[in-house]
Amino acid sequence: MGRYVLRRLLQLVPVFVGTTFLIYWLVWSLPGDRFAGKCGEKPCDPTYIAKMTEKFNLDDPLVLQYLKYLGKLLTGDFGENSSEVAIGSLINEAYPNTLRLALVALLIEAVIGLAAGILSGLRGRGFVDSLTLVSTLFLISLPVFVTGFALQILLGYELQWITPTVTDSPAPWGQLIAPGFVLGSLSMAYVARLTRTSIAENRRADYVRTAIAKGQPPRRVVGVHLLRNSAIPVVTYLGTDLGALMGGAIVTEGIFDIKGIGFLVYDGILGKDGATVTGVVSLLVVVYLLANLLVDLLYAVLDPRIRYD
């Protein structure tokens, strides 16, 4: 196990370098004048351009630019954006919001998705099962911005149960429930369906029959024997999804005005702020890779038949 983790961590190095270079290259080679609009209506004055060119090593070849950037990044220095604000502090402000939103979304999709999946998987054909299948199909077919705006209008403006936009930063947990539901709705539908299939498949498994034949109480037969096996694919999915959720939700954060990572990236792209985009996305790459590694390790814990080494 130790050697496996080490090998996986070493594999992260080339993946990290490759992805960050790709991002760097894409962002800094965007066509158009990168100083257009940076200084209001008039063109930027030459001293500003010279300063920025110096700061971002714009006269160097791209590879050298990237290497200089990477060197600073590895010391934890994300650099500054074109308004000379430290990107590190922007991330520090934005990340708690994204993290909270991701956790709320994960909680909602895990609790509701699992519950619906278990119920419909255990009952088999019938009302609960049909309800689960139809409602999840509905959620899967709807784009997030539709769910988002629909809930915002319904709950925020019509019924006035929620504040239509998140007002503070860091965002209060209560205000994140509706956005969390929007963000998690698609995965919630997948979790429900995955759980349902998994439970239905394992329900007639021999070891479940054994547990019944042992005279174990029904609660234990389902809650321990059946669930523990059925949870393996679901937990794996949830783990991967957490990695994706922490990447920030550009659409959801946009609709509910949450000052999170997605918001930051969106702003950076609009403002052609290469340093912000590269910095944030590099961080997301690391988060995503680590989340995936954790999932793989968790998989071995959940299923003892899987061995790494």
């Binding site: 007639r204 498994a205 019944i212 034949a213 042992k214 005279g215 109480p217 234990r220 038949r305």
Partner: protein, 338 residues
């Protein structure tokens, strides 16, 4: 206790009595009559072998006894399962659960799939002791090691922490047996316990079952399709065909002089040392479809001794000799060696 008194006694209240059991499977293709009046009984310390082809109903009978029959599609349409005289089919779900494991335990054909892959062997044994007996974690672990020792698993102390997939086939079946013994059941149902194993391992498992059964004076129902397995361990044999028991007898007499043409055909199809190189005998035709069981004697389309009466009349239970039952019109002829 003599064989006769076992078959005939009503009053004594045997350990387990299956009485006129009828089970149907309601499927899309029609109603399959899986059990058509199965009766047998088992006394403490006795081994009853239930013999038959796939689909003859031997496993369904066992599942009905245990209460683990899948319903639907299965429907119990008649009969009783009496454990110490108490009809389990009429008992509450709670009472049935009490009996499972502590009164009647069961082991299955494929121990790999019957054991839960994500829990250690120890956990699965200890679970019985902790949940059913309220034992502490430490006592349960100690007892689990003892049980694994009893079924002769080497290094039980270390093995108890391993998962089923880390055991060999024979060891898994031993672990399964240890688990079934955790609550000291009075009756063990072994559903083809050796079918998935090597021949040498088969013999070891049968020896182990035999020994445990004698030690604990436990009743044993051994379900198998293998006549060879049965010969050494069974006190009595019940032969099933198309959801009926076609012959019931003590093991010795059955081998010496079968009382039903089906039993005869099964015995004839065994490989024999003195007929080396010869083709094995087989039973012609296929087992009947349970949705459409032939009229009269269900075996008549495949029977070498078929006569007109077999095609029309269901044979009643004959008692061709003391302690023997046969559902053949000509049972007496067969036994007297015609």
């Amino acid at each position: 206790m003599t064989v006769e008194s076992i078959v005939d006694s009503e009053a004594a209240g045997p350990l387990l009595a299956v009485d006129e059991l009828f089970v149907e499977f309601r499927t899309r293709d029609g109603v399959a009559k899986v059990l058509n009046g199965v009766s047998y009984r088992v006394e403490a310390g006795e081994t009853l072998a239930v013999l038959g082809e796939s689909g003859s109903g031997k496993s369904v009978t066992a599942q009905t006894i245990m209460g683990i029959l899948d319903t639907p599609p299965g429907v119990i349409t008649g009969g009783e399962v009496r454990y110490h005289g108490e009809n389990l089919l009429a008992a509450s779900a709670k009472r049935r659960r009490e009996v499972r494991g502590s009164g009647i335990a069961m082991i299955f054909q494929d121990a790999l799939s019957a054991l839960n892959p994500v829990f250690t062997v120890g956990f699965q044994i200890e679970e019985q002791l902790r949940v059913r007996r309220g034992m502490s974690r430490r006592d349960a672990r100690k007892r689990a090691v003892e049980l694994l020792d009893q079924v002769r698993i080497p290094n039980a102390r270390d093995r108890v922490r391993q998962y089923p997939h880390e055991f060999s086939g024979g060891m898994r079946q031993r672990a399964m047996i240890a688990m079934s013994l955790a609550l000291d059941p009075e009756l063990l149902i072994a559903d083809e316990p050796t079918t998935a194993l090597d021949v040498t391992v088969q013999a070891q498992i049968m020896d182990l079952l035999r020994e445990i059964q004698l030690d604990r004076h436990m009743g044993l129902i051994l379900i198998t399709h293998d006549l060879g397995v049965v010969a050494e361990v069974a006190d009595r044999i019940a032969v099933m065909y198309a959801g009926r028991i076609v012959e019931q007898s003590d093991a010795v007499s059955l081998y010496r002089q079968p009382g039903h043409p089906y039993t005869q055909a099964l015995l004839d199809s065994l490989p024999r040392l003195d007929l080396k190189g010869a083709r094995l005998n087989t039973i012609k035709g296929l087992p009947p479809s349970l949705i459409d069981i032939p009229a009269g004697c269900p075996f008549h389309p495949r029977c070498p001794r078929v006569r007109d009466v077999c095609r029309t009349d269901v044979p009643p239970a004959h008692r061709p000799a003391a302690g023997r039952l046969s559902a053949c019109h000509f049972a007496e002829e067969l036994i007297s060696g015609e």
